[in-house]
Amino acid sequence: MNRWLTIVLTILLGVFSAHADTPKTVVTVMTHSSFSMSKELVADFESRHGITLRFLKAGDAGAALNQAILSKDHPMADVFFGVDNSLMGRGLDAGIFIPYESPHLSDVSESLRLDPLHRLLPVDYGDVCLNYDRKWFLSRNLAPPRSIDDLTLPAYAGLCVVQHPASSSPGMAFLLATISRYGEQGFVDYWKKLRQNQVLIVDGWKEAYWGNFSASSKGNRPIVVSYATSPAAEVHFSKTPITEPPTGAVTSAGNAFRQIEFVGILAGTPRLEAAKRVVDFFLDLPFQEAIPLQMFMFPARASAKLPDVFAKHAALAEKPLIVSWEAIEANREGWLNRWADAALR
């Protein structure tokens, strides 16, 4: 027994000593699990402003936002990074964000600034669209899909993998794209046809892209719902230097949904000024210019310079489909239910 006691005591001591450090101003940033940034950039900001950044990853975007809403009386963080336009209604309705008009906003396109009160400030955006495996289609002499209509054709049966819109934000974006394109009634018929055409629905983007997409995994689905920037990522991360991406994106007019990510200051923060500095940091050019290769989204700032690989291979969709966040907030549930009836049940 003595030995056990010693072990337990050692551990307990370890626990408490690990928590003995005294911080300066700590700003906690709540974010989703795909958030990524280089250490160097963060360390530079911290040393310049005397602020320590603590990141709290609270699951995927939806889960993180829900936790922020549930704990709004005693906020766990000061800043929230990564609400997108399909979820922003939930956050704004819950009243968890307070307005801040960052000086950097003037450099952000009007089309991205969805909240006129500046409670949520756009940081980056990207278009959700179909990606396809070039080699696969080439080797089978089949034309890659040109629009999302094509997915219902018999030739494309069993080729496509999409994400569950309830559990994945690109999945939701794709559903919104179909709603915008085919209308309130038409989208149900479209999904019924997709289902007949053996579409595969998986829980998340990672599973779809890295688990089933034939170009980037050993899976056997050559079409996947992803971002228009994904081909650039393929080039960037390729182990052998390549000039042409192995995948293509369907970016023709009316086939993509524009996803915009926002940052906001959480109501009730006792460190408002520091929180504002952090938001400015996210909108400042160094951070904005790092976004493409860290998160593979386009920076919100118009004057941010894009890295070469991005400029060359990342695309923006022509005339992306639009659904207002107010409409999304009002209809999300009904749409999801009707989608589930058509695609799953």
Partner: protein, 550 residues
């Protein structure tokens, strides 16, 4: 009244207060916040909603099917193991019991390692015919298979542990009365094992009904259980009210099953979840045909249960260039400058620390609870009720618990929300009932007369406890500690909701690697799964050794 039993109440007040603070308080907070404005009409709507009945119905069918398959597969091998001595008997036991303590993630990883798009079978198919032929069939099949894989060990352990008390003479006398071996099994062994089988079946049903990780990882989007639905309602739809109402229903279901368990098998309280099992009743089979048949059966079981585990090992050691430790050495390399990269070694160390703490918490709260239930003061009338309450964490949704932690421990003196200590606490809650059910039968098994003998020999109750009871349950206690340790090591459901990115546990790290692209990440996931497998196997071997000393 026995003299000086007032202090005995402390025994349940301490764990009771622990449960109240760490378990009831968070859950009640979630309910209080989420169920605001849920009046009678709203409850009626919920109680008649298709959400509830679809979830309950599917959960019920799934759990029934899983239990049925588990029994069908577990009983023959349990009976063979009880009756006959077969070569490799010990190994078979280890292999059949290992899954119970395996983390969900490892099982899911094992199944995917076998059938997934990058799995062993597809790899072989790629080598033979050039391309993979099947994608992982998310849905009923893998979920039920995984449940069977998990729970066969429960049935096996409970039935063989209980059946070990049956003497050969009973069976021999049945043989003398003119029954064939099969008849003996059907008419004598089976009825004698019935309480254990029933008890095991209920436990399996409860596990499958409340399954979270397996269904989430392998079930795809159409499968659901109460736990998974609570997760979805919370995380995907932000329907806190539905989630809270579902969790109320879940508690009722757990209470019902615990009650049924006590009601329908009265001597179930003496059935330990893990007890040592004796040697075979009949020894080696006598005919060579019998031997061949039994050996064959055992080999089939060994392959069935060994394959997913072997797949992990193969995937962990077989790199694209051949066999080697590449993936393991990759665990030591820090090749990322990303902000959230945590070295896998840290995850291993942190996991071990958390598991130690969780086991320590279990000891501090579970042991007094078990002691109290084993020997309540004579004036105490609510032992059964208290026992039921102590088993409640079995039926808690990790999601609701996780949310509860976030909502409850938010005000200054108890603002633990971002503390990693919440992880061992949640693990201890998950392991608490198992700990209790392992220690309790041992404590109850100590004859009162030994304690009285100690008293007449001049030992005070405390002194007698130290010199008689403690040494007598030492092995069970160690076993329970190791079991809690291993449960913590593999816990997934609660951790995924509570863990912060800078303190991932092993299963979370595996989960993260599994959902990242590239051969290297997949290999690392498999290497970590292999480490976890090694750790649990080690813990388990210690457990077995203890079992033998008893």
């Amino acid at each position: 009244m026995k003299p000086s039993e007032g202090w005995l109440h402390l025994l349940w007040i301490v764990p009771g207060a622990g449960l109240l603070f760490w378990f009831a308080l968070p859950i009640l907070t979630v309910w209080r916040i989420s169920l605001q404005g849920a009046d009678g009409a709203q409850w009626m709507r919920f109680l008649t909603s298709s959400l509830l009945w679809h979830t309950l119905g599917q959960g019920f069918v799934q759990a029934s099917v899983s239990t049925l398959f588990t029994l069908t597969i577990a009983l023959p091998i349990s009976i063979i193991w009880l009756l006959y001595d077969v070569t490799g008997r010990k190994w078979l036991q280890v292999l059949l019991t290992l899954p119970f303590v395996l983390p969900t993630v490892v099982v899911a990883a094992g199944f995917r390692a076998l059938w997934g798009s990058e799995g062993l079978l597809n790899r072989l198919l790629v080598e033979w015919i050039g391309f993979p032929t099947f994608e992982f069939p998310y849905g009923w099949a893998p979920v039920i298979l995984a449940h069977v894989f998990y729970n066969v060990s429960v049935v096996f352990r409970v039935v063989t542990g209980y059946g070990g008390r049956i003497g050969a003479d009973v069976l021999e006398s049945a043989c003398c009365l003119g029954h064939s071996p099969l008849g003996v099994v059907r008419r004598v062994l089976f009825p004698m094992l019935r309480p254990a089988i029933f008890s095991a079946a209920l436990v399996v049903f409860l596990f499958c009904f409340g399954s979270f990780g397996v269904v989430l990882l392998l079930g795809g989007s159409t499968m659901t259980t109460l736990d998974v639905e609570i997760y979805r309602q919370t995380v995907y739809f932000f329907h806190m009210r539905s989630a809270a109402q579902l969790s109320v229903v879940q508690f009722c279901c757990t209470l019902l099953v615990v009650f049924l368990h006590r009601r329908l098998s009265p001597d179930a309280s003496s059935i330990a979840l893990f007890q040592s099992s004796a040697g075979s009743i009949l020894g080696r089979p006598r005919t060579s045909r019998g031997r061949a048949f039994l050996t064959g059966t055992c080999v089939v079981y060994a392959i069935g249960f060994g394959l997913p585990l072997a797949a992990i090992l193969v995937q962990a050691f077989r790199t694209s260039t051949g066999w080697g430790f590449d993936y393991f050495s990759a665990l030591l390399a820090n090749d990322s400058d990303a902000l959230f990269f945590v070295e896998p070694v840290d995850a291993v160390i942190r996991s071990l620390q958390i598991a130690c703490l969780a086991a320590a918490f279990c000891l501090t709260f579970g042991f007094p609870a078990a002691q109290f239930l084993a020997d309540p003061p004579s004036s105490f009338r609510m032992t059964t009720f208290v026992h039921g309450v102590f088993l409640l964490p079995l039926g808690a949704s990790p999601v609701i618990l996780g949310l509860g932690f976030i909502l409850t421990f938010a005000v200054h003196p108890i603002d633990f929300r971002s503390s990693w200590l919440l992880i061992p606490v949640s693990h201890a809650l998950v392991a608490f009932p198992v700990f209790l059910q392992t220690v309790l039968p041992a404590l109850r098994g100590i004859p009162d007369v030994l304690k009285q003998a100690a008293a007449t020999l001049g030992s005070s109750p405390w002194h007698g406890w130290l010199r008689v009871q403690l040494p007598l349950i030492r092995n069970s206690l160690t076993a329970a500690l190791i079991l809690s340790f291993m449960i913590s090591l593999g816990e997934f459901g609660a951790t995924i909701f509570i863990a912060r990115p800078h303190v991932p546990t092993l299963p979370i790290a595996i989960y993260r690697y599994l959902s990242q692209p590239g051969e290297m990440n997949y290999g690392r996931a498999m290497a970590m799964a292999a480490i976890l497998l090694g750790l649990t196997t080690f813990g388990f071997t210690v457990l077995e050794r203890i079992g033998k000393q008893r």
